[in-house]
């Protein structure tokens, strides 16, 4: 069935689209958590690309990379949550716009 036999190019396009959504999201959104999610989206878009290329390549290298990326992303989540949380607790807001003490 053609529906289920999408070519790798489709995955790559999807990956690029996801990445772009994430990248644009970081630029336009203001809530720290949302920004954070956008970054995660970008990482996962990269994962998708890695796995797709791995598929084209015919070995599992790319999938292994995706594994590492997942770990890194998780560590990033932990660190990010910790920072966001401490900010939230000390000033009751998670909006990046409210973080404006540092200006030149």
């Amino acid at each position: 069935m053609t529906f289920f036999s999408v070519s790798p190019t489709h995955y790559l396009i999807l990956s690029a689209v996801l990445f772009t959504i994430g990248a644009v999201g970081v630029l336009v959104r203001r809530n720290a958590i949302v920004l954070f999610m956008c970054v995660e989206l970008m990482l996962n878009a990269a994962n998708l690309a890695l796995v797709t290329f791995s598929r084209i390549n015919g070995n599992l290298d790319g999938q292994i990379m995706a594994f590492f990326v997942m770990v890194v992303a998780a560590a990033e989540v932990v660190v990010g949550l910790a920072i966001i949380m401490s900010i939230f607790r000390s000033r009751r807001s998670a909006s990046v716009d409210d973080a404006n003490l540092l200006k030149y």
Binding site: F67, M70, V71, A74, V77, V78, L81, A82, R89, R92
Partner: protein, 121 residues
Amino acid sequence: MSLSPYVPIIGLFAIAAAFALFSVASARIAGPRRYNKAKLDAYECGIEPSPEPVGGGRIPIKFYLTAMLFIVFDIEIIFLFPWAVSFDLLGAFGFVEMVLFIAAVFVAYAYVWRRGGLDWD
């Protein structure tokens, strides 16, 4: 003509989704409607509902801590799964690597434990 083994999963998903959506949608149609202001308020055992749930959206820190711990250990599991599946192939090398890995996670675990991160109060 055969289908990919993943298709039935999607099939079951679709049926369940159809059923669930039908249910929630039909409830709007089947049930009666009698407007009552109090009925639409948040339920707090009869007292005046607080304007915002849980102190203005501030969620106890413990939940975040648990979430972070979960992520750490879930990641550990991610690595354990493939290792376990191909355990026999990897042999002693894999075992040593995994001992090191688990030891490293255990270091974090011991730290969290000692610092009271696992206590819920």
